[in-house]
Symmetry: C2
Subunit: 472 residues, 2 copies
């Protein structure tokens, strides 16, 4: 009966009561059921309304995770892992209630192997914490999604961000994970070797699974040497098309650009207002180059030529750290700069990704759509990957406003899919993009369901995310 309810998408009240009592008993004040804790653990930067868990467990070890998983398996109660709450598609919501597992106290750097350029961390370690820890080793972890997200969360959403064009995404940078399975056992998906063809790629199965297949307890990451020289700058273009042409030439020539970000004119206006950047309100590329004095000089000179060929303005670059930081601080604050444009409106941050040959078309058509519908929606893009974000300002307090936003997102995704793109380059599916995933991959989603059912037959791991499970 409880099983049927959990599977059919109803709250399993009886099971939840039992688990809440057991966790209170086992964990004392490491388990919280107060309204403010529960609200905080479903409140995110997502536009999707909060759905609160029934309690929040602050885990401190793999043993804690095993305990809660076994308990929740026994009573068919959902488990929703929580890193820092910076996900954007409702990944930490608890539509059927259940237990939020907070990883903020499971935040130890377990091992750094400098010679092998790898490290192993607990899921609650944040990106900034890790890089602070690594500072004296000459190494850094390159993936940078903007928010100071947790490594567990970044792993689970297959995060990428500004550096991915050079260093890859979480998919390329996770060497192994340990996971607690539905049976409450901890397994390790791979050894520390940099490559392997030993059986199915379980590591990649958990990277991007959004907590629906098991609960991560550690992540082994590839690291990079801190470049001897970093230079960055900005370059304005007469059109999105011209900027994208420069991106395509840069990628095709194999220039190992570390970041190449597209900002549209509206976003540049937001930066002027919020971050005091003095650039023109034109389509602009922000770039960064990593290397030695010689290679960075070569790369910036090559890019300057490309920019000129594509009708771009002067490429102003600097290796001064303070100036660079101002640029990338503004880029990181894009969300807040957009919010400041209309503080009384809601904000819907969404992303799609297309083959780079179609990026200019996709952005330009999206801008035309925004204009046609009288919307305000700055665009920023990880242009080297063909991935871009639209931050739509909308009236989130009226049904009409919400409908306008939803229609816009539907058109955006249809456009990206028609260009052989994907409905999300890095935010994940969560609750927000389930319909688009079906449109994108059709029958392949049934395979995902089969995999989910095989590893989590009772649907206790983050239910109601990525796809609707069958009630069978």
């Amino acid at each position: 009966m409880a099983l049927k309810d959990a599977k059919a998408g109803a709250r399993n009240e009886a099971g939840i009561v039992l688990v809440v009592e057991a966790l209170k008993h086992a964990f004392g004040d490491r388990f919280q059921t107060g309204q403010s804790f529960r609200a905080q653990h479903s409140h995110t930067t997502s536009y999707i309304p909060s759905q609160l868990p029934d309690g929040v467990l602050f885990v401190e070890s793999s043993e804690d995770v095993k305990t809660v998983v076994r308990l929740c398996t026994a009573h068919l109660v959902p488990i929703v892992p929580f890193g820092t709450g910076s996900s954007l598609e409702g990944q930490v919501n608890a539509p059927l209630g259940g237990i939020s597992i907070d990883f903020s106290r499971m935040n130890r750097v377990l091992e750094v192997n400098a010679e092998d350029l790898d490290c192993t961390v607990e899921p609650g370690v944040t990106r900034e914490q890790l890089n602070t820890h690594l500072r004296d080793t000459g190494l850094f972890f390159p993936i940078d999604p903007g928010a100071n997200a947790s490594i567990g969360g970044m792993t689970s959403t297959r995060a990428s961000g500004t550096n991915a064009v050079r260093y890859g995404t979480m998919k390329e940078n996770v060497l192994a994970v340990t996971v607690v399975t539905a049976q409450g056992e901890e397994i390790r998906t791979a050894r520390r070797a940099r490559k392997s063809s030993a059986g199915y790629d379980l590591t990649r199965l958990f990277v991007g699974a959004e907590g629906t297949l098991g609960v991560l307890t550690s992540v082994t990451l590839r690291l990079q040497g801190i470049p001897q020289k970093i230079a960055g700058g900005a370059c304005a273009f007469p059109s999105v098309k011209a900027a994208c042409d420069a991106v395509i030439m840069t990628i095709q020539m194999g220039i190992p650009v570390a970041r190449i970000e597209l900002l549209d004119a509206v976003q540049m206006r937001a930066f002027r207002n919020y971050s005091g950047l003095s650039y023109e309100e034109k389509p602009t590329l922000f770039l960064e180059f990593h290397g030695t004095d010689e290679t960075v000089a070569l790369q910036t000179a090559q890019f300057s030529e490309i920019a000129a060929e594509c009708g771009g303005g002067e490429f102003l670059w600097t290796s001064n750290e303070q100036e660079r930081n101002k640029l990338w601080k503004a880029r990181h604050d894009a969300y807040w700069s957009v919010r400041a444009l209309a503080p009384d409106l809601g904000i819907l941050a969404t992303d799609v990704c297309v083959p780079i040959s179609r990026l200019a078309d996709c952005v330009t058509e999206t801008q035309a759509d925004i204009e046609k519908h009288g919307l305000l929606a700055p665009i920023v893009g990880h242009a080297g990957d063909g991935n871009f974000h639209v931050q739509l300002l909308f009236d989130d307090r009226s049904a009409a406003g919400i409908a306008v936003a939803e229609d816009f997102v539907a058109r955006l995704n249809a456009r990206a899919l028609a260009m052989d793109g994907t409905c999300t380059g890095e935010h994940g599916i969560g609750q927000g993009k389930m319909a688009f995933l079906e449109q994108e991959l059709g029958g392949a989603v049934d395979l995902m369901r089969q995999l989910k059912h095989s590893l989590d037959p009772n649907n206790i791991f983050n239910p109601g995310k990525i796809f609707r499970t069958t009630s069978s």
Copy 2:
């Protein structure tokens, strides 16, 4: 009854008879059951004895694949995909008989998107065929496992080879695949965007699955721009340790070396004999650098300094294509050069991969093992990845000789696993490494079994590979 037999690991004679008759009827002489065809399709460079399929179907389209999968599903008959037969761990053997699907006629390059640096090919396209096709586009496909393998086979074993240190393995270079599932339906795992976080990473699940989860019908690959300048050369070292130190420094400094191959002194002797290379019989690195005139000059100068610091000899490099080709032709012919050392012995080609900090230890201890047991077994390694191959010459016609070889492989794998390495960097598990996979990943192999059971409940896809399935 047939179901039980197929699952329990016995030949399903009745089903095989039915499928063979049906395929003869449906495909005429595209389906062959003669001894020579059957023998050829299980005869590989593996040391594992051949196990013949009952017939060989030369497929020409996805529709052909669907037809044979549906037929084999209906009658519970095994399917063994066959590319070029260059796999090394018995991947194309048919221990329970069944149908070999030969992809040599499904070898069309379906699409090249030069601006996006990607292409889509049928599984039977070989590496060399693809690069010949691409020649006029200025692009190339970098993965090079030595053999002129098929893209389908390379995908299925997660191949990598000499260029992986710079360009990654098949894991990083496959964007999407189409697959015929056990239900006989064709699905596509991803769109053509360069990154995505749209649901589970089905692409990576099929990369390296060795044909056990479905049958590939196309592969979408990332391509690279042909470098303006390529330079390569060789550098001898006083010891394996010194050579490995040079490799570690090269990787740590972020020098984007395109190939960095370790050859031990015995292998260098084999090259002198077979390929007429005149280098000394000392531990040696073969290197290649890709870039522009300027970056290649910088990289070779940096490496020369590192080599000198590690006690290496002069680094002799050239950008002359003929001279470079002689070097890499020798490297590609390593298997044949070893065979020529003792033409009357069998050869067991095996690989392991360890964190690069342990590569020198692992190679040196393996050399000591070889010497202690009076064996002849040259070593070549993709040193930048920590991956190395041992080619053991052994008496494959006596039980005692085979036992000596098996004991050696067991010690080699135990050594690599004790160093947090993997039992295979690029050859895959096949039939040869099932026991080592269990040692390496323990409980994680049960997850693989669950995944296999969910996608292939009747165990028709390449049964008897990677792990033993449960008889449940």
